[in-house]
């Protein structure tokens, strides 16, 4: 009886599906049309950025509009280099992000491991404090951090750009989510075999965490690469600027050279796009993180 019922229900589902497919042809076309519009909206600013980077500034403001890449790539690059010292900015952005990722990843992974796999006094308080801190807007700590860096003469240094953000609770949560899923029995049996905790962590736990580590590393890299408010406040000389601050300084002048601006934007953006396209899965799980769990 039950089996019969099931069969008839399945048949019904199949016919409904067939019917829906046929009936839906116009709505399908409408859907592709809407998706295509959103596609253009999403991607066009990137194309425009490249058009701007390869044309002179004035060409971006003509009627009829310039919609094709031009030949001024080298001119814009040279001009930009004269204005902001592009190798220095590139070095600062890469150096700060690289050091930040390595240190912040180590610190967050260690903390996450303790929080995920151990019981200890104060664990709950620490966890709650990390959680609550994610609701505190950056502006609330900006001024004290600035005063602190100023008092210790750390302003305008790599130290100021890297160290204050090293404990990033979101990264800790990201790693903790993944570490929670690690089988505790494996840890127990390693302990039975007499392996030290550190050894267990380094040789058994870490190797199985590669996807999570990659995702968190990407998240931390993006955070550093795109960070603006703190570097703006913490750095004063052009030699210490990272991309966002350098780009912002380019539009702070009265006569903006959009060729240079778009070149700078392209240099900051294109590597991230390539990076994203080649590591999409890790990127998305890193950026959305615990939202997915």
């Amino acid at each position: 009886m039950n089996a019969l019922e099931n069969v008839s229900v399945t048949n019904q589902v199949v016919t409904v599906k067939k019917r829906t497919l046929k009936r839906n042809l116009p709505s399908k076309i409408l859907m592709y049309f809407l998706l295509a519009i959103f596609l253009v909206v999403s991607v066009f600013p990137f194309y425009w950025m490249l058009v701007g980077a390869t044309n002179t500034s004035g060409k971006m403001f003509t009627i009829p509009p310039t919609l094709l890449p031009g030949k001024e790539f080298m001119t814009n690059l040279t001009n930009l280099n004269d204005t902001i010292g592009i190798t220095q900015v590139l070095f600062n952005s890469i150096f700060v992000a690289a050091v930040y990722v390595v240190l912040a990843l180590a610190i967050s992974t260690a903390a996450a491991y303790a929080l995920a796999k151990f019981e200890f006094k104060g664990k709950k308080i620490i966890f709650t404090a990390f959680l609550l801190s994610m609701m505190i807007p950056g502006q609330a700590t900006l001024i004290p951090l600035f005063r602190m860096m100023s008092d210790f003469h750390f302003l305008n240094s790599y130290f100021a750009l890297i160290v204050p953000g090293l404990c990033f609770p979101f990264a800790i949560f990201l790693m903790r989510q993944n570490l929670l899923a690690f089988p505790t029995e494996l840890l127990e049996s390693a302990r039975l075999d007499g392996a030290s905790e550190l050894r267990t962590f380094l040789t058994i736990v870490l190797p199985s965490m590669k996807p999570a580590l990659a995702a968190t590393a990407i998240f931390l890299f993006m955070t550093s690469w795109n960070s603006f408010m703190w570097p703006l406040v913490a750095t004063s000389s052009n030699e210490m600027h990272t991309f966002p601050v350098a780009i912002s300084s380019l539009i702070g002048v009265t006569k903006i050279d959009y060729g240079q601006v778009m070149m700078a934007v392209s240099l900051a953006t294109v590597p991230m796009i390539i990076f994203f396209l080649s590591l999409q899965r890790q990127f998305i799980s890193g950026m959305l993180g615990s939202a997915l769990k």
Binding site: V13, V16, L21, S27, M31, L35, S42, P45, F46, W48, G52, M60, F61, I63, P64, P65, I107, A110, A111, A114, L115, F118, F120, I126, A129, S133, M135, I136, P137, Q139, A140, T141, L142, I143, P144, V163, L166, C167, P169, I172, R191, S196, E197, F201, M222, F228, V233, F243, P244, I247, S248, M262, T269, M272, L277, Q280, F283, I284, L288, A291
Partner: protein, 283 residues
């Protein structure tokens, strides 16, 4: 097999120490600062005067209103767009899903400064948007020079940057809704719109709440975009709380006043998050 009791402390210590120095101390320091005023470089307590001054500061009130207005319009529009896009990409009959998803997510990998600057070039009075409008015979729009349009420009830009991001969050959650639920609705003769409102949205409620809170906190801190797109203008029409805190602190060097403002934002974030939890009835 003795468990090493000190081990978790060693592991959590670096994060906790950094957290204490660079988060907890600043949070309290700025609370204290918000009750202080500097005279010739020396800080002394002035009670609530920074806070009472806020009530009569027209720029602050304007920033509060602007931030609120942007929040009320931008977050729902973006969440709705993200829901529609994610439902479309979750559809059985659609092809090239991966391609669309990648393209829609692309804005989320750009830096806020970078995209604000690109939008700035598009929205100039003689920029591409206006030039295209002129070509098809419509007049030009004062995107950045009119109080209302400049807010719309900020809303458009922020929506462009974050819709794909939220869409991917929703897409992940949608994949957890069982196909049976939709098939049962098919049998009952439910249409697309009905399924969207009666199945998709209720099932996604926790995720929508999460995204809304995250977006609310983000919008309340709006800084990179107004600074690089409109500079808070025209005539403070796009002045946001984040931008005004920065200006008070680092252009007028009124640290006490800026801290008081920052604490008002902290309070608003706390209240709004609490309300959103209450209203949606989450645990």
């Amino acid at each position: 097999m003795k468990k090493n009791i000190a081990f978790p402390y060693f592991f959590v210590a670096p994060a906790v120490i950094l957290f204490a120095i660079f988060t907890i101390y600043p949070v309290f320091d700025s609370l204290i600062l918000s009750f202080q005023k500097s005279t010739a470089g020396v800080y002394h307590f002035v009670g609530f005067s920074n806070y009472t001054r806020l009530l009569g500061d027209t720029i602050f009130l304007k920033a509060l209103g602007n931030t609120g207005l942007i929040l009320i319009i931008q977050v729902p529009v973006m969440i709705f767009l993200a829901l529609v896009l994610s439902s479309a990409l979750n559809s059985q009959i659609l092809r090239f899903k991966g391609f669309f998803r990648t393209a829609y997510f692309l804005p989320a990998v750009t830096s806020l400064v970078a995209y604000a600057v690109v939008f700035g070039s598009l929205l100039q009075s003689d920029g591409l948007f206006n030039n295209l409008l002129k070509l098809i015979g419509l007049g030009s729009v004062p995107w950045l020079s009119d109080p209302l349009w400049s807010k719309i420009s900020i809303i458009m830009a922020v929506t462009w940057r974050w819709t794909g991001y939220n869409m991917v969050i929703f897409l992940a959650a949608l994949q957890n809704i069982s196909e049976d639920t939709y098939e049962a609705a098919d049998l009952d003769g439910a249409g697309k719109v009905q399924k969207f409102f009666y199945i998709t949205i209720p099932q996604l409620k926790p995720v929508i709440l999460f995204s809304t809170i995250l977006s609310t906190i983000g919008t309340l801190q709006l800084f990179d975009e107004p600074l690089n797109l409109t500079k808070g203008g025209p005539n403070d029409a796009t002045m946001t709380l984040g931008l005004y805190i920065y200006q008070s602190g680092f252009q007028y060097f009124d640290f006490g006043y800026a801290s008081a403002m920052a604490y008002v934002v902290v309070l608003i974030v706390a209240i709004l998050s609490f309300l959103q939890f209450k209203v949606t009835g989450a645990e």
